[in-house]
Symmetry: C2
């Protein structure tokens, strides 16, 4: 009965189903905003994914257009979950989760930092610490915005768990970063005390790395396939 040509949705689609299961009558725009505000510290979606996914989900009957416009807004399409959609969501929830391929560019640069000046590693760790401090603020903000809800909400215990994992990991990384920074600074200081061969490294006064431009950021598209 439900082995028609559908299935094999992408994670974006399941995120949409999940969002609509928590709150019906959301538009694509709402969904994106909701994701940013509630699970933005561990999940992101772009419009380029959301709108096509909505079309497809509707086509396959997992969501349905709804007319309800909670506020007076017009020209926006909201959706609700269908029974089939709820079933698909439950099915997906029960499957083992995928490990995302590990790709941590911070750790990669730290691993190879021996080729560069110690300033580089120090700057990256400072950068990481700042980002982590900001994450902690974000997480605490979300945390503060939750309790007011009705306490019988079946989602609440799980929402608290996701927040506490986020907090635990970010805190651990921040503690590591502060210790690492202290260790590297001590090492730098002692190196400055003892004699040192003049090497490639030019002791810069600023430790902050300059802005990174990589294909992205539209302009500055210097790359143009060398051969072929």
């Amino acid at each position: 009965m439900y082995l028609l040509g559908m299935s094999n949705l992408n994670p974006t689609s399941y995120t949409i189903l999940g969002g609509l299961s928590v709150q019906p009558d959301l538009s694509g725009y709402d969904i994106r905003k909701g994701i940013q505000q509630s699970i933005g510290y561990f999940w992101a979606e772009s419009y380029g994914q959301i709108y096509p996914a909505l079309k497809r989900l509707a086509r396959e009957g997992l969501i349905a257009p709804s007319k309800a416009s909670p506020n007076g807004r017009k020209r926006r399409q909201t959706y609700v979950l269908t029974d089939a959609g709820r079933a698909a969501l439950r099915q997906w929830l029960a499957l083992p989760f995928h490990n995302e391929t590990p790709r941590n560019e911070f750790l990669l640069k730290l691993f190879f930092a021996g080729v560069a000046s110690p300033d580089v590693a120090i700057a990256h760790i400072q950068d990481l610490n700042e980002r982590n401090r900001r994450w902690l603020v974000t997480i605490k903000t979300i945390e503060a915005s939750i309790p007011p809800e009705q306490p019988s909400n079946p989602h609440l215990p799980y929402w608290m768990l996701t927040l506490s994992l986020g907090k635990a990991m970010t805190s651990a990384a921040l503690e590591w970063g502060e210790k690492a920074l202290a260790a590297l600074n001590a090492r730098e200081a002692s190196a400055a005390g003892s004699p040192q061969l003049p090497t490639t490294r030019t002791r810069k006064t600023s430790t902050s790395p300059r802005k990174q431009t990589r294909g992205k950021r539209g302009s500055m598209r210097s790359e143009r396939k060398v051969s072929k």
Copy 2:
């Protein structure tokens, strides 16, 4: 002088440059193996990325084919870093690191776990804990394999730092997982004690989710674009 049509390499290319900066005369195969064995807990590369990247790096003069075959193997192409390659690597190392888009499927499923039976969340957390325990073993294995090197190795302090961050975050996650599991089990037990309406949830004996098949794993390609 060095503003020719090159630059804008992808992370894979920089990983290769990094690998060759630590040890020259590696083949594509070696590089992949080396990555798995030393930084596999935070970085992965596939052949489909490595071989094209090697070609391109050689074309742009950042690496050069070398003849040295450390062991007696034949029919394999090894490479060394050129001066330009080392410069490119240093330049990239100094740029701020990219945050990978946060996409943690475990947290996503946990967040929406309220739509499903409590067994689902419990199974996922057990799964996570097992993976984390395995990570810790891997990290400790790598850790044990490092000290024998010459202590003057300039990479060593950074390698130790990457390992300690990996360990800190994994341990934090594991501690969280154990507490979370205890909390959910307690909740389940107390729910079983108090009367409960018969709902959709079918109390399964097994808590382990079944194998996930999603397009990948070649066979079982049930999806076949419904329309268009």
